[in-house]
């Protein structure tokens, strides 16, 4: 039987009472047996009761039952009965011998029991600590760590526990605990704890809480507070709560360090991107600008002398280059937001069919010369994605494919389960991507070996797709030749955890 910590005191009282019942039963049995002359000496009957109480309930029960047996034995069963007097010195000797035997056997039997109970408790405590430790090791979130600590604390101490700690990157807020767990889910208010009080925890102590500091390498990180009255008074429990506090402090520090490391990595990545962007502006914006300026200045200078067809041609040059410049600007903005870490995916469950349809209708407007076909997904899929990022990523795929496929080309939008999740795919019937280039298409400014690709402008579109995909937890993948069309296939693959089917 596993005793629950919260019922400790109640159990002890019952145990003592039961021990007394055993002794009373023994007295009654002995009385009966004596009357029927079945036995001469009732002492063994009492000893059975004492041993029973001792082995079931421990040393304390053993002593209580031995003493009560001694008195009952004397009072009821030894002549003169119903008095504490004894008939002869022999009786004294016998009675004292009985007391000694009862105490000694009871003590040893009880100790064996207590030992067993202590090991059981220790196993429980270690179990609670182990569970908290493994939860903490698997978690990078301070809130989760604090909750695990509070859960273990409640199991150890049997009372309400709260964990106060500095929130990651934020200032100390001593009146909102990271985790607060009351025993049996009862409401409890955490004691406010000022930062300067972290060293001594006096304010918490004054409000009826016991406290253990969460010691970090550079001073206290917070405190583990335990409501009183607690078993915390018991030195063993107190020691274990101390261990729990250490465990929690270590886990919190590790979580904070992990955050810093990923920050640093982000910084390095963003420096690299910035350099690439500057490159893009200087090279790729001048080309369309040159076209615009040349066409516009000839119109201003000699417009009247041109025939209408020439004028129209120049105006169309301005339009085409301006549109191209508009696309570059948009890509550059997207890239800048990506590199600056300003792209925050707002994840929601997005209907794949609707997203493909929306992309197709925009793509038809932007590329009227290209045939765009949507193959509706076989299942009503939902993906966890950011609607804007998803749309822009697919549109960039379409834009890239449309430029390669050219007027009269055909694009196919579809979605299907692929290796590792659900793929949203754009297939084109363009020339495809060579095996040397396929692994590099998502790199910034990569245009492949084809010099004709230079006119397609900066290779930002696909890098943006990759950036947006990563922001949503998806992957950008290129294949050539496409399994369904003659050209290339570009897809966004969402992991299985981010895919659902509508009921």
């Amino acid at each position: 039987m596993i005793r629950r910590i919260k019922t400790w005191r109640w159990f002890e009282a019952v145990e003592i009472a039961l021990s007394l019942v055993f002794v009373l039963a023994a007295a009654a049995a002995a009385d009966l047996l004596l009357r029927q002359n079945a036995i001469v000496n009732p002492a063994p009957v009492f000893l059975i009761a004492v041993l029973l109480a001792a082995s079931l309930f421990g040393v304390r029960a053993a002593i209580v039952s031995a003493l009560s047996a001694f008195f009952l034995f004397n009072f009821f069963l030894v002549e003169p009965r119903y008095a504490f007097r004894l008939a002869s010195p022999d009786d004294y000797l016998g009675l004292l011998l009985f007391l000694a035997v009862a105490l000694i056997t009871g003590y040893f039997a009880g100790q064996a029991h207590d030992q067993a109970r202590r090991s059981q408790d220790r196993a429980q405590i270690l179990g609670a600590l182990f569970e908290a430790g493994s939860t903490m090791a698997a978690s990078a979130s301070p809130e989760e760590i604090a909750r695990a600590a509070a859960r273990a604390g409640v199991r150890l101490a049997g009372v309400g526990v709260c964990v106060m700690a500095r929130p990651p990157g934020g200032p100390w807020s001593g009146d909102t605990p990271l985790a607060l767990l009351a025993r049996d889910g009862a409401e409890a208010a955490a004691p406010p704890l000022a930062a300067r009080d972290l060293d001594h925890l006096t304010s918490a102590l004054a409000q009826g809480w016991s406290g253990w500091r969460l010691e970090g390498a550079e001073g206290p990180l917070g405190a583990l507070l335990v409501a009183r009255p607690a078993r915390a008074g018991d030195p063993e429990t107190a020691r274990m709560l101390g261990v729990l506090a250490q465990l929690t402090a270590t886990a919190l520090e590790r979580a904070a360090l992990q955050g810093e490391v990923s920050q640093a990595r982000l910084q390095a990545e963003s420096d690299r991107l910035r350099a690439a962007l500057l490159n893009s502006v200087s090279h790729d914006f001048r080309t369309p600008l040159s076209g615009i300026l040349a066409a516009a200045t000839s119109l201003v200078q000699d417009g009247e002398s041109f025939d209408p067809a020439t004028r129209r041609d120049l105006a169309q040059t301005i339009q085409a280059d301006a549109e191209r410049l508009g696309r570059y600007t948009r890509n550059l903005l997207d890239m800048t937001r990506l590199e600056g870490g300003a792209v925050r995916a707002r994840l929601d469950w997005i209907d794949v069919a609707e997203a493909l349809g929306a992309v197709a209708s925009q793509a038809r407007r932007l590329h009227p010369g290209v045939e765009i076909v949507v193959t509706p997904p076989a299942q009503p899929w939902l993906v966890r994605a950011d609607d804007m990022l998803l749309e822009q990523a697919l549109l960039n795929y379409v834009e890239n494919a449309a430029e390669w496929a050219g007027d009269g080309g055909r694009l196919q939008l579809s979605a299907a389960p692929v290796d590792g999740g659900l793929g949203l795919m754009v297939d084109d019937d363009g020339p495809g991507v060579g095996p040397d280039d396929i692994d590099h298409v998502f790199e910034k400014h990569y245009r492949g070996g084809d010099p004709a690709a230079r006119r397609l402008g900066p290779g930002l579109g696909l890098s943006i797709v990759r950036g947006f995909a990563e922001a949503m937890g998806a992957r950008a993948i290129a294949e050539s030749p496409s399994p369904v069309s003659g050209g290339a296939r570009f897809s966004l693959v969402f992991p299985e955890t981010a895919v659902e089917q509508t009921p």
């Binding site: 301006a322 508009g326 948009r330 903005l333 997207d334 937001r337 929601d348 469950w349 209907d351 069919a353 609707e354 493909l356 349809g357 929306a358 197709a360 209708s361 949507v374 193959t375 509706p376 997904p377 609607d387 804007m388 749309e391």
Partner: protein
């Protein structure tokens, strides 16, 4: 139209005003320009402006404040010009009562098309409710609450009809999630756009030839929907 509609163009970029005016005039409109929000409000108040093309980035005040002020007394159609990626700004402007938006940089035919729709919508509203809307193969009869596709009546649930009616009343114009939620769910609408998406999906199944490639009810990602009329 017997009389030329007067369009107020509010933008602080003179080059853009110069570029837009000839094409608006060629499309049959009279054009008035304003370079500040205050001038725009004054112009709407004092002259019979038929529609406003409003840039949201003005030197003297926030364009959205201009919408608020104008909407205090006037239902004149307002078309806002916004940056492409300013999605929250678009939502905000539309919810404050702008009729539609055009993202900068834009092509003139697009602006003219939106303007035409906005003027038509205002005219319809001026003529009062009721009537019939026709868009592609779709016919919505507001008086009898009946919807026809290529002449065949289709049966809609009450919610689907309310959604259809809301889109049809603003045919050609964007209707935001918020507007749909309050038009279909009434006084205490749910705050979750997912309700709208599900209902749109049901309606598309009934009115689109190919629900996977909608041509009638277009998605305006994150903003809302537009009946293509």
């Amino acid at each position: 139209m017997s009389e030329r509609s007067l369009i107020l163009v509010v933008d602080d970029e003179p080059a853009l005003l110069r570029a837009m005016s000839p094409s608006l005039v060629a499309a049959g409109y009279a054009v008035q320009t304003a370079e500040t929000g205050a001038a725009a409000i004054a112009a709407v108040a004092s002259q019979g402006v038929d529609a406003v093309v409003l840039d949201l980035g003005l030197p003297d005040m926030d364009g959205k404040a201009v919408i608020d002020r104008v909407r205090e007394w006037s239902q004149v159609p307002i078309l806002v010009l916004t940056a492409r990626d300013a999605i929250e700004e678009k939502i905000d402007a539309l919810d404050r009562g702008a009729d539609d938006y055009v993202a900068k940089p834009f092509a003139m035919p697009e602006l003219l098309a939106r303007l035409r729709v906005a003027l038509r919508h205002a005219e319809r509203r001026h003529l009062g409710g009721g009537g019939v809307l026709e868009a592609q193969d779709l016919t919505v009869d507001f008086a009898t609450r009946r919807v026809f596709l290529m002449g065949e009546e289709i049966s809609l649930t009450p919610r689907e009809y309310d959604l259809m009616r809301t889109l049809a009343r603003h045919a050609g114009q964007i209707v935001t999630y918020k507007q749909i939620l309050s038009a279909v769910w009434g006084a205490n609408p749910p705050q979750d756009n997912q309700f709208v998406r599900v209902l749109i999906g049901q309606l598309r199944q009934k009115v689109e030839k190919d629900p996977s490639s909608p041509r009638l009810i277009l998605t305006e990602t994150r903003l809302g929907y537009r009946l293509n009329a």
